[in-house]
């Protein structure tokens, strides 16, 4: 499902003395199957934006089209529930949404709400619990006996069980240790590739943004500050610095090498291997001369 956002504006507490504009003038289109990353400081409007994509927040101006659903300011959308079936959100610290007695029941909550037959939902749960890195024996256990990291995996399985075609991830790795972070991001990327999910990732990690995205959106003060492919966005560190954002380490490294060795190097370097190759190239060129 393609997503098209037109002139979106959102104000909190509209019409009260506390009115606060959180988003304005957002125009954005996300073609089906894209890995879209959204970056910005806390309070830049990222969370407000993504909550519009499944009708948790309604625009105060403008419209959002998702497939053949349309959410418009001032118009009541009757098919919100149908829309939510297609758009899954993994919120920050999703383990806080667990509530059932057993892990299986919790994973089933979403699918059953959306009318998936129980045996089909159970099949999904059995498959997903393994995909998130736990085994089937966990299904009958209480989610509250797990470690924080395991609870997070169960919560993620609960969202995936709805089989959304659009998956929104709001800082899904916050608070995890490095290994946990890597495993979770690898899982999402695999799903993105294997199932063709449209993935929208909100993150503070420039490394993840560089590694996974087809397109990066940088938000500031409720508007879009920059947008483009990772190589475009990161080729100009100065514009990022102006927004007090960091550049991925790999990119920093390339820029430092270029400066010190006075050489031009490829800029779309976002993996460790590519950074090592760049280092090798300056060393080997040294050997040639």
């Amino acid at each position: 499902m393609d997503i098209t956002i037109k002139d979106l504006e959102h104000s909190y507490s509209k019409g009260t003395p506390f009115e606060r504009k959180a988003l304005s003038n957002i125009n954005l289109s996300i073609p089906s199957g894209t890995f879209q990353t959204i970056i910005g400081h806390t309070g830049s409007g990222k969370s407000t934006l993504i909550q519009h994509l499944n009708g948790l927040l309604k625009p105060t101006q403008g419209s959002i089209e998702i497939g053949d659903f349309k959410i418009q300011a001032g118009v009541k959308e009757k098919r919100l529930k149908a829309l939510r079936k297609h758009v899954g959100i993994v919120f920050q610290y999703p383990e806080h949404q667990l509530f059932e007695e057993t892990i299986e029941k919790d994973i089933l909550f979403g699918p059953l709400n959306f009318g998936v037959p129980e045996d089909e939902a159970k099949k999904r749960a059995a498959k997903l619990i393994q995909q998130v890195g736990l085994d089937e024996s966990y299904l009958s256990r209480s989610p509250f006996d797990l470690s924080g990291g395991q609870m997070r995996r169960v919560a993620i399985a609960g969202v995936l069980a709805m089989k959304p075609s659009i998956l929104i991830l709001d800082e899904p790795t916050a608070g995890l240790d490095p290994r946990g972070r890597r495993e979770i991001m690898d899982l999402f990327y695999r799903l993105h590739q294997e199932e063709g999910l449209t993935t929208i990732l909100v993150t503070h990690s420039m490394e993840d943004a560089a590694r996974f995205s087809d397109d990066i959106l940088i938000m500031e003060k409720g508007g879009i500050a920059l947008q483009g492919k990772p190589e475009t966005i990161f080729s100009n560190p100065h514009s990022l610095k102006k927004l007090s954002l960091d550049v991925p380490e790999t990119v920093q490294f390339i820029h430092r090498l270029e400066e010190r060795f006075n050489k031009n190097l490829p800029h779309s370097v976002f993996t460790l291997e590519a950074a090592v190759d760049a280092a090798l190239s300056v060393l080997q060129k040294g050997e040639d001369s």
Partner: protein
């Protein structure tokens, strides 16, 4: 969720706002007692004057006072009607056969309704001009002597202030969990009643779990910062009894004396 107002407090700089919370609490308490001294038109007028003057001095928009009255307006009207129809004193005013209204009944009805009205106005004035935390500190100091007879005054005050501190946090949390469950297809605000009731569990369980976790963390943090009960503890919050507060009590005393002289 950024702008939740806890309690009813309306910030301001008026004479009433600046009074010591203890003075306000005591006044409200005394007022509740002496309002029963009024028993004729002139004493009720005196109370009316006192109440209106207090509202005027507080510079609060009347809207807030009215909002405080709204929920019990019906009670006041009911009390009025009960007295009008059930008191059989003085000359007969109306006679509808089965319903007879006497002058004494009308008078009684008006008096009782006014008494209720004044009480509510004065107590809302207290909560409208005093922050919840100041009320808590005020109560703690006023009840201080009760510690000797084993009343857990400090614990109560601490509980209140922690509750006040965490109300916004828990409201935010509620909103977050509602959103997360809505995204998983739960229905909170629309759909059949049965569905809506069912969605309470997915909201309440996570809220309780998180509240317990917070309580546990908080207890540990408090202990780590050397908390060991109220014994030997000092307080940063200082209540200052000033000339204003004494003035209030002089006025209150005058009101009392006039009441005693003027009541019949």
């Amino acid at each position: 969720m950024q702008n939740i107002i806890i309690g009813q407090y309306v910030p301001g700089q008026s004479f009433i706002h600046k009074l010591d919370p203890r003075a306000k609490l005591l006044t409200a308490f005394l007022f509740v007692i002496i309002v029963f001294l009024a028993n004729n038109w002139i004493t009720y007028a005196l109370f009316g004057a006192f109440t209106l003057l207090a509202i005027f001095v507080s510079k609060l928009p009347l809207r807030y006072i009215y909002n405080g009255l709204k929920p019990i307006l019906l009670v006041i009207i009911l009390t009025f009607l009960l007295h009008v129809f059930l008191t059989k004193e003085g000359p007969l005013l109306l006679d509808w056969g089965f319903l007879k209204v006497y002058e004494g009944g009308v008078e009684q009805g008006i008096f009782i309704s006014l008494r209720l009205l004044f009480l509510i106005m004065i107590t809302s004035l207290l909560t409208l001009t005093t922050t919840p935390i100041d009320i808590t500190v005020g109560i703690e100091t006023l009840l201080g002597p009760m510690k000797k007879i084993g009343l857990p005054v400090h614990e109560f005050a601490l509980m209140m202030s922690i509750a006040l501190r965490f109300i916004p946090t828990l409201l935010e949390e509620t909103e977050k969990i509602m959103k997360a469950q809505s995204a998983r297809g739960a229905q909170f605000s629309s759909g059949p009643m049965k569905e809506r009731l069912k969605s309470i569990v997915p909201l309440l369980v996570p809220l309780f779990v998180s509240a317990f976790k917070r309580a546990e963390d908080l207890a540990m943090a408090m202990e780590a910062r050397g908390y060991r009960g109220g014994e030997g503890r000092t307080s940063i919050r200082l209540l200052k009894w000033s000339g204003k507060d004494t003035t209030l009590f002089v006025i209150l005393l005058l009101l009392c004396v006039s009441l005693l002289l003027l009541r019949s």
